[in-house]
């Protein structure tokens, strides 16, 4: 997927003006936010259970993996190979596409059924498959909806059609499937299932992501709410897992710890409808399972974060809680962010994976309110990372000169109390004159975006320093 992150501001403006989207975002938000809050409260209500302690344990697991990522990768590789899987590495998106197309050609694949994989979005895998004459079919209900809507990108990492209303989907289905318009979700799901069933039966290859890779068993774990994940990973004779190198966890025990957090943080569920732990190829006497299993472990920028100040970002387990709780995401939705990952985690990942200079707005598109950090199941300090990216921009002189100059000037003035006092007095006089006797200023040339949406309260007329100095003088006189 080509990044459009540099156009965040313009795209955000469009999204704010989209009334339908705004209505949809409002509804979806409350569902996820309240759902998580309830799930956390329920968890904490059990004797001896402590969600905070669980978050600590989970981030420790993730850190343990990242500290020795090479070792855990090797362990995984050995175990997975022993169970008949082929483990491949991909440096970037282009390499993912090449590997998957090669595998497809080797097995004479003409159609690939896909279960959601954000990495295939990073790589633009669908286009590459199509270009190679292989039909990719998205089988996640959300992803399927987007695919038939002219390959629209997902706007959320776990709820790809977060931004759409039921009515919009009903119309899309009626138009695409040439069926009468339905008004119930169950009916629409049934309709999609009927269409997709054909594809499950005829696809020679299944492509999935993995929520976790378990080193001690060489397994890929898949967490879903739809049965399609199991169809894609077991029906076709070839199964390809595409996932990031950072998705490793050492043991099944660790996996179960993370599983207490992931569904609760993501959808407010205690457990998702399906949790599949897939190990190796179909064994002798097994009724189902793929005959060929490929696990493609992808770097695409991840390895370069290991050992840096941004390493905590690699703890991410892709639950989406940060975006669900982000006031900015809630206002503009996922598409405004312009790449695969939206919200606070996307504002960190996009510049890191696609280039700091290509996503200058994203680290600033946050009020640093830290709602994201508070809900992150693995305690990623998202506001700190956003701020570090802002520092990088300043170091690399990527900020507009006006902004750099204004900050330096402010620092210079604020370091000199007498000068600061003078500047403050002048500013207050100026603002008072602008207010012209009223209690507010309606338009301010120095901050046009501020007064486009709100008034600026007029200052009281004199600064605290002036008034306090006067008081001190006055008290000195009366005391004498």
């Amino acid at each position: 997927m080509r990044s459009q992150a540099m156009f965040f501001k313009a795209r955000a403006g469009d999204k704010l003006a989209d009334r339908q989207l705004q209505a949809n975002l409002g509804k979806a938000k409350s569902r996820f936010v309240e759902g998580r809050a309830q799930a956390v409260a329920d968890y904490d209500a059990a004797p001896g259970a402590d969600f905070e302690a669980l978050r600590d344990a989970a981030s420790a697991i993730r850190d343990r993996v990242l500290a020795n990522l090479d070792v855990w990768l090797e362990t995984f590789e050995d175990k997975a190979r022993a169970r008949g899987a082929e483990v491949l590495y991909a440096r970037d998106g282009a390499e993912i596409c090449r590997l998957v197309v090669d595998i497809a050609r080797r097995h004479g694949v003409t159609k690939a059924a896909k279960s959601k994989s954000m990495l295939s979005e990073e790589a633009g895998l669908n286009e590459a498959l199509a270009a190679a004459g292989i039909e990719p079919v998205e089988t996640d209900l959300g992803e399927y909806i987007l695919q038939i809507n002219d390959n629209e990108p997902p706007s959320h990492i776990i709820a790809p059609v977060f931004h759409k209303s039921k009515e919009e989907v009903a119309e899309l289905f009626a138009r695409t499937h040439h069926t009468p318009k339905k008004d119930d979700i169950a009916g629409m799901a049934r309709e999609a299932r009927e269409v997709l069933r054909e594809h499950f039966m005829s696809a020679e290859m299944g492509i999935s992501g993995a929520n976790f890779l378990i080193a001690e068993t060489g397994s890929a774990a898949l967490v879903t709410n739809e049965g399609n994940g199991r169809m894609v990973t077991t029906l076709p004779k070839v199964h390809v897992v595409v996932t990031g190198i950072e998705k490793l966890v050492p043991t099944l025990e660790d996996f179960s710890t993370l599983m207490r957090l992931l569904p609760r943080s993501a959808t407010g569920q205690r457990i998702s409808n399906y949790v599949s732990v897939l190990t190796g190829v179909k064994g002798e006497g097994d009724l189902d399972g793929p005959e060929h299993l490929y696990v493609i472990l992808v770097d695409n920028g991840r390895a370069s974060l290991v050992g840096t100040e941004f390493e905590p970002m690699l703890r991410c387990i892709r639950c989406g809680a940060c975006m669900n709780h982000c006031p900015v995401y809630q206002s503009v939705g996922g598409h405004a962010y312009g790449w695969v990952y939206p919200g606070p985690m996307g504002s960190v990942l996009t510049p890191l994976y696609t280039g700091i200079g290509n996503a200058l707005d994203l680290p600033h598109a946050s009020t640093l309110c830290n709602q994201c950090g508070v809900v992150c199941p693995v305690k990623i300090p998202l506001p700190d990372l956003l701020r570090k990216l802002r520092e990088k921009q300043v170091e690399l002189k990527l900020r507009p000169w006006r902004e750099r100059f204004a900050l330096r000037l402010w620092g210079w003035v604020a370091s000199r109390p007498a000068l600061y006092g003078f500047a403050a007095r002048t500013a207050v006089r100026y603002l008072s004159r602008l207010a012209g006797g009223a209690d507010r200023i309606r338009a301010l040339r120095a901050a046009p975006e501020w007064t486009a949406g709100r008034d600026l309260a007029a200052p009281e007329g004199r600064t605290f320093r002036e008034l306090y100095a006067e008081r001190v003088r006055h008290e000195g006189r009366t005391k004498r």
Binding site: S331, T367, C369, E403, V428, E449, G453, E460, R465
Partner: protein, 246 residues
């Protein structure tokens, strides 16, 4: 035996200095009423937060060092702002990763710096307050005060001491108002959308005033309420309510 008075430095903050001096005086009155000797260093300016949040650590460090020196030797430093208090408490120490001496001084200052209501309740155990506000209020929890300093119960406890005040909680009081410092200047339209949700929640309580502990939120919420045509709901800093008229 005369008891030694606690020497408390008041960090006024630049927004209070510029926009609402009366909040600084209200804080001063509250501290004096609680029996503190209040010191207001005359050279204080800005804590460096705008530079820090913009990624300009050089400027942030210079201003931090200046403030650390100004408030040296005092028993406590009190700030009528969650975000400036959070800057000193949560962020000053990490500004000096490569300068152990400065880091130690920053940590020492951080350890004795408090947001105003937190100081009154947690350190002084204040019971009564001088204010005499009459009416229903709703409290907006500013992000830094809440999540960096744990300020939530303290202002409510102080308001509960005021017989004329009835507190009506708004929905999502912990949600950001969309100010975010320069965020509201860089992304005015997103900020407006966020503050609209806050204004809706405030209005739904029917309160006479929204009370809060941060100048940024105050200017943002007041500015949006007025632009939306709400001339009735007052927007007050908690210090003003607690201290009453001079």
């Amino acid at each position: 035996m005369t008891e030694e008075k606690m020497r408390v430095g008041l960090f006024v903050t630049c927004l209070v200095d510029l926009m609402r001096p009366r909040i600084g005086f209200a804080a001063l009155r509250l501290l004096e009423a609680a029996g503190c000797e209040v010191v207001v260093p005359s050279t204080q300016t800005c804590c460096g937060q705008p530079a820090f949040n913009s990624g300009d650590t050089r400027v942030a460090r210079a201003l931090a060092l200046k403030l650390i020196a100004e408030f040296d030797g005092l028993d406590y430093v009190v700030v009528p702002s969650g975000s400036c208090g959070g800057m000193i408490r949560a962020h000053y120490p990490q500004l000096f990763d490569d300068d152990p001496a400065a880091a130690a001084r920053a940590r020492a200052l951080a350890a004795r710096t408090f947001e105003l209501t937190d100081f009154l309740v947690s350190v002084l155990g204040v019971g009564g307050v001088p204010g005499d506000f009459e009416g229903t209020v709703t409290y907006h929890d500013s992000c830094s005060g809440l999540r960096e300093l744990g300020v939530k119960a303290q202002p409510r406890a102080l308001l509960a001491h005021m017989p004329g005040v009835e507190l009506k909680e708004m929905a999502a009081s912990e949600e950001c108002c969309g100010f975010g410092g320069l965020f509201s200047v860089k992304f005015g339209d997103i900020s407006t959308r966020v503050v609209d949700r806050k204004c809706d929640n405030i209005r739904a309580t029917g309160a006479d005033a929204v009370v809060l502990g941060d100048l940024g939120c105050m200017l943002n919420i007041e500015g949006r309420l007025r632009r939306r045509g709400d001339e009735r709901t007052r927007v007050l800093h908690v210090a003003e309510v607690l201290a009453g008229e001079d």
